[in-house]
Symmetry: C2
Subunit: 374 residues, 2 copies
């Protein structure tokens, strides 16, 4: 009884304090604003106007507390047992982060969690500047739908999940739509583009402005024994059976970030006739330097050389994006571009500063979605 | 380059170790089996055949580590810096749990996270015994769809999310379906029934067996200024506009657990003509003992008394379930039943041991879904 009462009162209190209900309820005396991904009612982390971030956590009995945002920040303990720190300015968009409590890497209880880095990570959102905010904003435009579909994969011998975005008007209209298959990176899964990536929001906004063709986007789990088999034997047949999907390679795209880019490239090698639109974000086959995968890279370039004319005919757009020189995949991609140039494979290349991070991948889908199925 | 290599290798290693790909890859030398909600590849927590659970966490620099499963368990530190504990036997189904590291409550990095207890919690799944496992299993039956829908709530002046389950064949058939509005508890949100509750799986299995009528289930965020307004001004109009929903009270149900049960009851008071099927799980108005809400309870019973005949005519099924006497809402519900009896409000009552927990609420939706729209 007392517990139930407490639970309900706690909930009511948390609602009162919540930033969900607009500026009137925000705590105006605190610096900056709560991050978009804070748990409802949690005031920290807070993003300052110059994009530095204040973190705060109560841990009177801990000996050492750190924030890991790629760079680790030691937090300072106050007399009240509350640890705080203020970071350097962060780049705009989504960032994974972690808390280290006496050396144990955990998600921050102040944040929503996202599957990334092979565990449930915390997420920080730095607001975009005025020139870009509109792309990623929840706006009063027609909204599509994201379907969670469960299916049994015979490739992996397991029940799996895919997310499928259908565009606004999909339910009202009767036509068929082209399909982009969009893959996450290593340590992520089918949730990546759907949550961290804000894919539905980006597409809804692009479609509303007439900048992208209405399309279906299927987000599969790339953690599989054999991605090409999973895509061609399970993913594509499932989508084409359960959604009004246009068929044929000219109505299919395949794109992926990091590991998903490698999956995309490997699928191209196995199936030159599968898709006409290809996006490789922050990725590239391993550089031929004797490291793992180098022999495969050479074999792959051999296939491209042998079937160059088929690839250049089938692929209407091959688009490579990179998070600048600070992207850990930069050298791999640079070498791949050199080999593409040498062989004569056509592609476009785009750089956007930010490294190997989600802001770059959101920008990538924003750009790529405007180029395909046209 | 090295980092990318490491990330991909790490991912490959994690896949190799993963329990996702069937028994062949499981570590057969460890006791018990990994919990269903472990992050892919994580071997702990492990559930023993007698439903005790072994937890394990590496924390060489921590001074005190505990597991909180309702009861707190002190973990023991080994010489390798790994802390372990083995719990008492747990009841079957889903349980929230937390890790305390030197006093800080966090989610266990070994587990998926679920929004509950007003933060991202860890989840533990104890396998059901043979008589019930079938209800909650991923099976080769036709599967429905869960839609994530974003909408702007004028009640809360904010973008919100609802999840909407549509039954198998919804896309193939042209008919309309009845709608159950199904609400989470305090400290949870629209994700509760969709994730912890396995609602789509339960319904898919019931519908396949012909035990439940194919229905739409809408799961709204009950963290709102005014639930009745949110439901009637936003939720119902949105669902009836965007889905093939049958209209009229005889085609609508409303059910909720704990706080969601209170929301359901309060909506009944405001709108006796809204729904014909009512489920109240682990809930009840506050007992009239001078505590908060007592005056409202008396007022509510007054309305029921005044409109008794209308309620008994409009409501085809009023179903109360309770997690036994150990449920923290037991006394509230007992008093409510006494008042219903006294007034002459018709209802059915069902007890299922387990307390104020998700196993009870999964059982509740399993039972309730079979009674409605028939």
């Amino acid at each position: 009884m007392k517990q139930l009462l407490s639970a309900i009162l706690l909930c009511a209190l948390s609602l009162t304090a919540s930033a969900q209900f607009g500026p009137a309820r925000q705590q105006q005396d605190l610096p900056g604003k709560p991050s978009l991904w804070n748990i409802r009612g949690r005031q920290y982390p807070r993003v300052l106007p110059d994009s530095r971030v204040i973190f705060r956590i109560q841990a009177p009995n801990a000996q050492k507390v750190q924030i890991d945002l790629g760079k680790r920040y030691d937090m300072q303990k106050g007399e009240d047992g509350v640890w705080t720190c203020t970071t350097d300015p962060q780049t705009e968009g989504f960032h994974y982060y972690f808390l280290y409590i006496d050396g144990v890497q955990v998600a921050d209880p102040n944040s929503e969690s996202f599957y990334g880095c092979s565990m449930m990570s915390s997420g920080l959102e730095i607001p975009y500047d005025a020139s870009k905010a509109d792309r990623f904003a929840f706006k009063d435009v027609p909204h599509g739908d994201v379907h969670r579909k469960r299916y049994f994969s015979h490739v992996d011998n397991a029940w799996k999940t895919m997310y499928v975005y259908t565009p606004p008007m999909y339910d009202q209209e009767k036509g068929d739509y082209p399909v982009l298959y969009l893959q996450h990176g290593g340590g992520e899964d089918e949730r990546g583009w759907n949550q961290q990536g804000l894919t539905d929001i980006i597409l809804d906004n692009l479609i509303a402005e007439g900048k992208a063709v209405p399309m279906i986007i299927a987000m599969l789990d790339g953690n599989t024994r054999d991605f090409t088999a999973e895509l061609t034997q399970e993913g594509i047949p499932f989508v084409e059976k359960n959604f009004r999907a246009k068929k044929g390679m000219e109505n299919r795209g395949l794109a992926g970030l990091s590991m998903g880019g490698i999956h995309t490239l490997n699928t191209l090698i196995a199936r030159p006739d599968l898709v006409s639109y290809v996006g490789i974000f922050s990725s590239g086959w391993f550089k031929n330097n004797g490291g793992p995968g180098a022999a495969d890279s050479d074999k792959n370039y051999g296939v491209l050389r042998e079937k160059k004319d088929i690839y250049n005919k089938n692929i209407k757009k091959m688009w490579l994006s990179m998070g600048g020189q600070e992207d850990i995949a930069y050298e791999n991609c640079k070498e791949m571009r050199r080999r593409f140039d040498e062989i004569g494979i056509k592609y476009d290349y785009y750089e956007y500063p930010g490294g190997h991070t989600w802001p770059v991948w959101r920008e990538s889908i924003y750009q790529f979605a405007q180029m395909i199925f046209k």
